[in-house]
């Protein structure tokens, strides 16, 4: 099993506040890794740095052995890394389907074509297939603004999976999602990712979701990874219990 993602000595500070401090992590191909930590512990910053939205002050990031430190998000996405967001980032003036169509045409590297229609039968079919696991296919023609909050979250995740990544980073995938839907969606999502051999890293606050689905857990406290192991071990760690679970 190769290493998909590796960070070495990753550090980032904002003004005087250290958000990420000397983080060394290696993620194996096909793994499902959870990241937990209190608010402000550095989890989202970590994801932002890996995906190129922020530049680290120090440290390196390697993806499939390739240096990607400080590369812009567009390049990193092109290499096969996709992410979803804590607050869903979708195209609010378009329909659900149109959102996914844009993701698909971007994946095809055909997003700047000014003449051929965006909507083709093949693309629409693929888009509906991408929306299906999230229960959004029936809402495909509706404007995004009509979706409830949980639906927006699902759409955001669907957009990331539609890009066909090899590494998927999810930032709080179940926040804002109703308890009935949480497990079903994670179940379906992870099954599909497993079939496609996609490595998944997800930031989570919900410990049930984390213990059920993560094979490995990283606990962030004040920007540092203080625990790294199986969910049982990490969640039993007293330091983690105090800092993260409160």
């Amino acid at each position: 099993m190769g290493v998909v993602l590796e960070t070495v000595g990753l550090t980032k500070a904002f003004g005087g506040v250290v958000a990420v401090s000397d983080v060394n992590v290696a993620i194996a191909q096909g793994a499902v890794v959870g990241i937990i930590g209190a608010n402000g512990a550095g989890k989202t910053t970590f994801v932002n740095i890996i995906t190129g939205y922020l530049k680290p002050d120090a440290g390196r990031i390697r993806y499939l052995g390739r240096e990607i430190t400080a590369h812009p998000p567009r390049e990193i996405v092109g290499l096969g890394i996709a992410r979803s967001f804590q607050i869903p980032q979708v195209y609010t003036s378009l329909t659900v389907l149109e959102n996914v169509l844009i993701a698909l045409v971007s994946r095809e590297k055909a997003s700047l074509r000014p003449w051929a229609p965006l909507s083709t039968r093949a693309r629409e079919a693929a888009a509906l297939a991408a929306l299906e696991p999230f229960g959004l296919a029936e809402h495909a023609r509706r404007p995004v603004t009509e979706l409830p909050e949980g639906g927006l979250k699902f759409l955001d995740i669907a957009l990331s999976t539609a890009l066909g990544p090899r590494l998927l980073l999810l930032d709080e995938p179940t926040s804002g999602v109703s308890s009935e839907d949480k497990f079903e969606v994670m179940e379906t999502l992870l099954r599909i990712m497993r079939e496609r051999e996609v490595t998944v890293v997800f930031v989570e606050h919900d410990m049930d979701v984390v213990s059920r689905y993560a094979q490995r857990l990283l606990a962030f406290v004040d920007g540092k990874v203080v625990a790294d192991g199986t969910p049982e071990d990490v969640l039993a760690d007293p330091g983690v219990r105090k800092a993260v679970l409160g």
Partner: protein, 298 residues
């Protein structure tokens, strides 16, 4: 050598006018994040009302020195009436809308004010030279200047100092600084942002009108002065940095002296130089000399 001195003096003179014009624009942007295209119209409105009041006053035959009061009164009146009206009726409904929409709304206001001024005062130019001629002239380095022009420089300086002092020294001023820095936090601190916006916009309107009124004795007050005024104001504010009064002062100096130099050395390029500097600043340091960068959080 009189040419460099002439360039400097002319430049500073011009800068004084530009500062008065631009100060209100940058203040309003700093507090409300709205770039008011109609700012030039408020400047013109001040010119018209100042002129009208002076002419009306002079016809009463009162003591001449008081005409300066009439000029100032015109500006303050125009600004303090139009300011709150515009802010409450036009700007308040669009605070949450996109920048594009806000630009279009202030553009509509510009169109409306242009015609309002035409309806009230007609299209013929007005000349009110008395305040300018009354103080006489002085010769510096071989060039004749009017005392009024030097008075303008003093007034511009005084205004700048006063406004900056008012913002740093008063409670309201500190609230303005807080709202400029972070609007959301200010609301949680209990600052009545709505009322502050009205105040800030009115202050900006009065400043613009003041600029117009003070310049009126130097020019022909006619429709269309707002059109060029606004591009110049934009140039000054961009160079200095949106939201910064110190920047507006420095920007005014840069534009003023450069334009004066162009008039003497390369008259063909006079018009273009100001816009070229604006383009250059926007390309190489968009936030201007004293402006700040803003970044989006995800």
């Amino acid at each position: 050598m009189t040419v460099p001195i002439a360039i400097l003096l002319d430049g500073v003179l011009y800068a004084a006018v530009l500062f008065l014009l631009a100060a209100g624009l940058t203040l309003v942007y700093g507090v409300m994040r709205i770039l008011n295209i109609a700012h030039g119209s408020l400047y013109a409105l001040g010119a018209y009302t100042g002129t009208a009041l002076v002419l009306a006053y002079l016809s009463t035959g009162g003591p001449e020195p008081l005409m300066y009061l009439a000029l100032l009164a015109g500006a303050v009146l125009a600004g303090s009436i139009v300011g709150p009206l515009v802010e409450r009726l036009l700007l308040r409904p669009i605070y949450a809308r996109e920048e594009v929409v806000q630009l279009l709304v202030t553009f509509s206001l510009f169109l409306i004010l242009e015609d309002v001024m035409k309806l009230v005062w007609g299209v013929q130019p007005y000349y009110v030279a008395k305040p300018y001629a009354y103080l006489g002239t002085v010769t510096i380095a071989g060039v004749r200047y009017a005392w009024y022009q030097l008075l303008l420089i003093a007034v511009a300086l005084a205004t700048g100092v006063l406004v900056v002092a008012a913002i740093r020294g008063t409670r309201i001023g500190r609230m303005i600084i807080a709202v400029t820095a972070d609007r959301e936090i200010s609301t949680t601190l209990g600052i009545n942002v709505a009322r502050l916006f009205t105040l800030a916009f009115t202050a900006g309107a009065i400043l613009a009108a003041l600029g117009g009124a003070l310049v009126a004795p130097l020019i022909a007050v006619a429709p269309g002065i707002s059109v060029e005024a606004i591009v110049l104001a934009f140039a000054v504010v961009v160079i200095g940095g949106l939201g910064s009064l110190e920047g507006a002062a420095l920007g005014a100096l840069i534009v003023g002296v450069t334009r004066a130099a162009a008039v003497y050395l390369l008259p063909e390029a006079e018009l273009a130089t100001v816009y070229l500097i604006m383009v250059a600043v926007l390309l190489f340091r968009p936030r201007g000399l004293f402006g700040e960068l803003e970044m989006r959080r995800i």
